[in-house]
Amino acid sequence: MKIVIIGASAAGISAAKTIKASEPDTEVVIIAKEDRVHSRCMLHKFLGHERDVKGISFIADDFFETSGITWLNNTTVIGLDTQKKTVKTHDNQDISYDKLLIASGASYFIPPIPGLRESKNVYGFRDLKDAQLLDSECNTAKNAVVIGAGLVGMDAAVAMMERGLKVTVIEMTDAVMSLQLDQKSAQAYQQRFEEHGAAFILNDKVVSVDVDEVGRGKAIHLASGKVVPADVIVIAAGVRPAFGFITGSGIDTNHAILVGDDLQTNIDDIYAAGDVTGIAGIWPNAMKQGRIAALNMLGEKRSYEDRYALKNTVNFFGLTTLSLGNINPEPEENCEIFICEDRHNYQKVVLKNGVVQGVIIQGNIGGTGFWQYLIKNKIDISGKNKDVFGLSYADFYDQDQQTGEYRYAV
């Protein structure tokens, strides 16, 4: 059997590994538009010169050779023939498959703001190519502007600060990383960034960009009337699933490729995993989807149930934070909020009817993995009769006598 995988990030590589571990004889072809495999979560380490290209890979150097996988890099898929079961590449190859996994991820988009799309010095921060282009800009630029203070924007900001640029972050909402943090925990990061030289403009948005004679954006005009000078601009205003090449293939989509619990699309033998499905959201989920799609392509019947994507960890300047679930409930949701705070920690637990809706653990996050289980599985903790901040896995301790693995006693 021959399995073709489009995309070489979390879902694609995880699928390839799973296939080769289970059935080494299966032929696997990975097609990727990038030059090399890299972890996008480490791009800031590359841009900040903390690691080189090799250092942000998440596979062994000889992964493709030792596992016998055909690796087609710098190759863009431009079409798909579901009848003939082939994919067409930019260099006009038709590559046949028995089963196909689309793990082509997502790509950033530039909002339609006058001057922004036209500027040659506007970059996303999505893959290695973006980081490499930004890297050379950083050699000469002095002022950097990051549009969007989400995790990606903050990653880009910290890397450019590392390179000695004066970084200004512009954000529409009133706090940084507002999807992951609440006001208080966001403030802790903003303060650390500012101490290291960054400037933040919150509650404001870009209305236009002045483009100079060589086509570079030089001044960014904000709704407030402020003008921010820029030598390089990073746009971090969100991403969209990338699947333009399936147009006309008959695969069902809305804003993303639609898949069932088995991660198969409406077309037999074509699966999708990772950001392109819109249900991944985050690296660990993409990895899991890649693994499950692979097992299903090999004939198993696994279903993907872990659709819980409201989770993240943040680590800037040694301040670590775990964020899960609904951390900023609206008053009408009638949630109870518990806060525990000291000079090294800020913890917030959102409860509704005894069920944990969300947590923020900022500071010491050791041993906090159990929270995700509680939230994902809607465990009622009211019976524990205990300070929520004293909870740990010990409160749900149970073991499988046969395997010695832990379970949850709930």
């Binding site: 208080k184 802790a188 525990c340 000291d342 000079r343 090294h344 920690n345 900022q362 901040f389 004293g390």
Partner: protein, 627 residues
């Protein structure tokens, strides 16, 4: 994030204190409980032995004996006797210093404020001297002579002090103590490597140490102090963090040896010293009570209204008192002077002076008290406290809690003041007991610990249960500090008592929990019990009287407990004293003791069930007395 040291502090019966501590930016015992929450089971059971280099040996299914062959019973008994010996040593140190102080005070014709106490001791000791100073010196000499006897020579005052039926029983059991200091020595020797391995012999030895500790370390220390410092008298006084007055130069005192402060506390209110304070912007000096010596000052507070501001809190409140920022110096002479105060004092620029090297703190100035130099020493202390005051006030932030505590804690209760209050006779109390208006008496004593639910938690909950059952509670030790701060020693607490006890309290205007002061006053409780038994004509174990040290903390408490068992009283502890790994220990303490002394150990960390057990014992004793 805020500036709080940590958001994990242990619970406290005193809600205001719990909140105060949880908001502190300094580390306290209450914070450190979290990091010590998992306890080693071997340690808890007392089955870890570190007496030789073959160890530490621990009793396990595969290793049921130590390398030397010691069983769990032997290991537990050795550990326990060592602890009791150390605890006894602590109290004997206190009575030795107190007797020496009385001897020197008397010899130098110093002031003796407690005429009644002096007369009482002279009567017990059969000292017939007209001159009060000669009389006092003789009494001190008799105490010292006993303390310094070898262990093979019995102490002479035991028979004079002890209730006759008890003395006879002790004699039968062969547990009359020799010289109290030597007995500590003997206990330590006996428990060393490959010496005594007989658990029963060692537990009897504990009782012996209990007797010397109780009669000398506790009872006599009180009475000797009363001679020098004045007898307690009943009054209402303020307690809690509210007693600290920021207008004054404040000195917190910790320890157990009130007489060491005798000269200083008078000196602090003399005009020239007050002038010195005024010169640096303060109104004068105040002593802020903490730990047992604070209780001692509170007990005798009638004599020290000007210099003593009140008792702020017990052992595990000391860090919080310092964290108010309004204390300028700590004078310490014994426990409980927690090592945890050291970094707080450093951070808040609080001067630390130790007056007795047994309680030397790492970063404190050592100034061993010398009787002959007390004038110059006091002046030096005053000067260095003023210096600290000038360096820190205005610089160190204040964090007061004027809401904490209350103004109407009934204090000054002693065997003497209580009897006077009752009209000079125990009859009214005995009548109330006989009629069942007061069902019985519980001496709730000892320390606070942070286990057993948290700071003062079991003590307070148990006392609430007991008074609800019409049992009058007498308290001595840090337990008093906790009980007074939560208002159980205020007359209004009568409303929390059962209907009969409530009526008694309301008619007399007293709370259902009487404050005898420091742990030393456990000796006063013994005097009360003895006088009651004498008046009724029974032995102590027959009285409807129980003891509880719900939150016993340290080795001294174990020596006190041994005294309680020697007296033949039922003794409740919240947590076991590291003996449950030995079946023999459990048997001896919970069963066999009944036949030996009439005493009995009850271990229970649940306030409700413990109160039920104690109540049942009182009921049983009432029945046996046909009342």
């Amino acid at each position: 994030m805020n500036t709080n040291f940590s958001c994990k502090t242990c619970a406290s019966a005193d809600q205001k204190l719990e909140t105060f501590i949880s908001n502190l930016s300094v580390d306290t015992s209450h914070h450190r409980m979290e990091g010590q929450s998992v306890k080693c089971g071997f340690g808890l059971q007392g089955i870890c032995c570190r007496l030789c280099s073959n160890g530490p040996c621990r009793i396990t299914p595969d290793g049921p004996k130590g390398v030397c062959g010691a069983t769990a019973d032997t290991i537990v008994a050795r550990n326990f006797l060592r602890a009791v010996s150390a605890g006894s040593g602590c109290y004997i140190h206190i009575v030795e210093n107190t007797a020496l102080m009385l001897k020197k005070t008397a010899a130098s014709k110093g002031v003796l404020k407690g005429k009644v106490a002096l007369a009482k001791l002279a009567e017990i000791f059969a000292v017939d001297e007209a001159d009060e100073h000669v009389r006092a010196e003789k009494i001190a000499d008799m105490v010292l002579a006993d303390l310094y006897k070898p262990d093979y020579v019995k102490m002479e005052l035991v028979e004079k002090m002890a209730y006759k039926p008890r003395f006879d029983r002790w004699k039968e059991l062969g547990i009359l103590p020799g010289g109290a200091k030597s007995e500590v020595f003997a206990g330590v020797v006996k428990t060393s490597t490959n010496l005594n391995s007989d658990p029963v012999d060692m537990y009897l030895n504990c009782l012996k140490l209990g007797i010397s500790t109780g009669l000398y370390g506790l009872t006599l220390t009180n009475l000797l102090n009363d001679v020098m410092l004045g007898e307690p008298s009943i009054r209402l006084a303020p307690v809690g963090l509210r007693v600290i007055d920021t207008d004054y130069i404040n000195i917190m005192i910790t320890g157990h040896q009130h007489s060491i402060f005798a000269y200083l506390q008078d000196r602090l209110i003399q005009d020239d010293v007050i002038e010195k304070a005024k010169a640096v912007g303060a109104k004068g000096f105040k002593l802020v009570g903490c730990t047992c010596v604070g209780q001692d000052l509170q007990l005798r507070g009638e004599h020290y209204q000007e210099v003593f501001n009140g008792h702020a809190g017990n052992n595990f409140t000391s860090e919080a008192i310092l964290a108010t920022g309004a204390i300028d110096a700590v004078l310490s002479e014994f426990n409980c002077t927690l090592p945890g105060i050291e970094p707080i004092c450093d951070e808040l620029k609080i001067k630390q002076i130790c007056l007795d090297d047994v309680a030397k703190k790492a970063n404190a100035e050592m100034k061993p008290f010398v009787f002959e130099e007390k004038e110059s020493q006091s002046n030096d202390i005053i000067d260095s406290v003023i210096e600290a005051y000038q360096a820190r006030r205005g610089v160190v932030a204040l964090n007061m809690d004027a809401d904490h505590g209350n103004d109407d804690t009934l204090t000054g209760v002693s065997e003497g003041s209580l009897k006077s209050f009752l009209g000079g006779t125990w009859k009214p109390l005995i009548d109330l007991i006989v009629k069942g208006e007061i069902k019985g008496i519980a001496g709730v004593v000892g320390c606070s610990s942070l286990t057993a639910g948290g700071h003062d938690v079991l003590t307070v909950n148990l006392v609430k249960e007991l008074i609800a059952k019409d049992i009058l509670v007498l308290s001595a030790g840090c337990s008093s500090g906790g009980l007074e701060n939560v208002g159980l020693m205020s007359p209004s607490a009568a409303s929390q008592a059962g209907s009969k006890l409530r009526a008694v309290c309301e008619s007399l205007g007293i709370p259902p929990v009487l404050n005898f002061g420091p742990c030393l006053a456990i000796g006063r409780l013994e005097l009360v019990a003895t006088e009651l038994a004498e008046a009724i004509g029974v032995d102590l174990p027959q009285l409807p009287l129980v003891l509880s040290a719900p939150q016993w903390l340290e080795e001294q408490a174990l020596a006190d407990g041994a005294f309680g068992l020697a007296l033949g009283l039922p003794l409740h502890l919240g947590l076991p004293p590291f003996v449950t790994g030995s079946p023999v220990a459990v048997q001896v303490f919970t069963q066999d003791m009944l036949n030996l002394t009439g005493g009995q150990l009850i271990i229970d960390d649940n306030a409700q069930s413990a109160a039920q057990t104690l109540d049942a014992i009182i009921e049983k004793k009432r029945k046996e007395l046909n009342i």
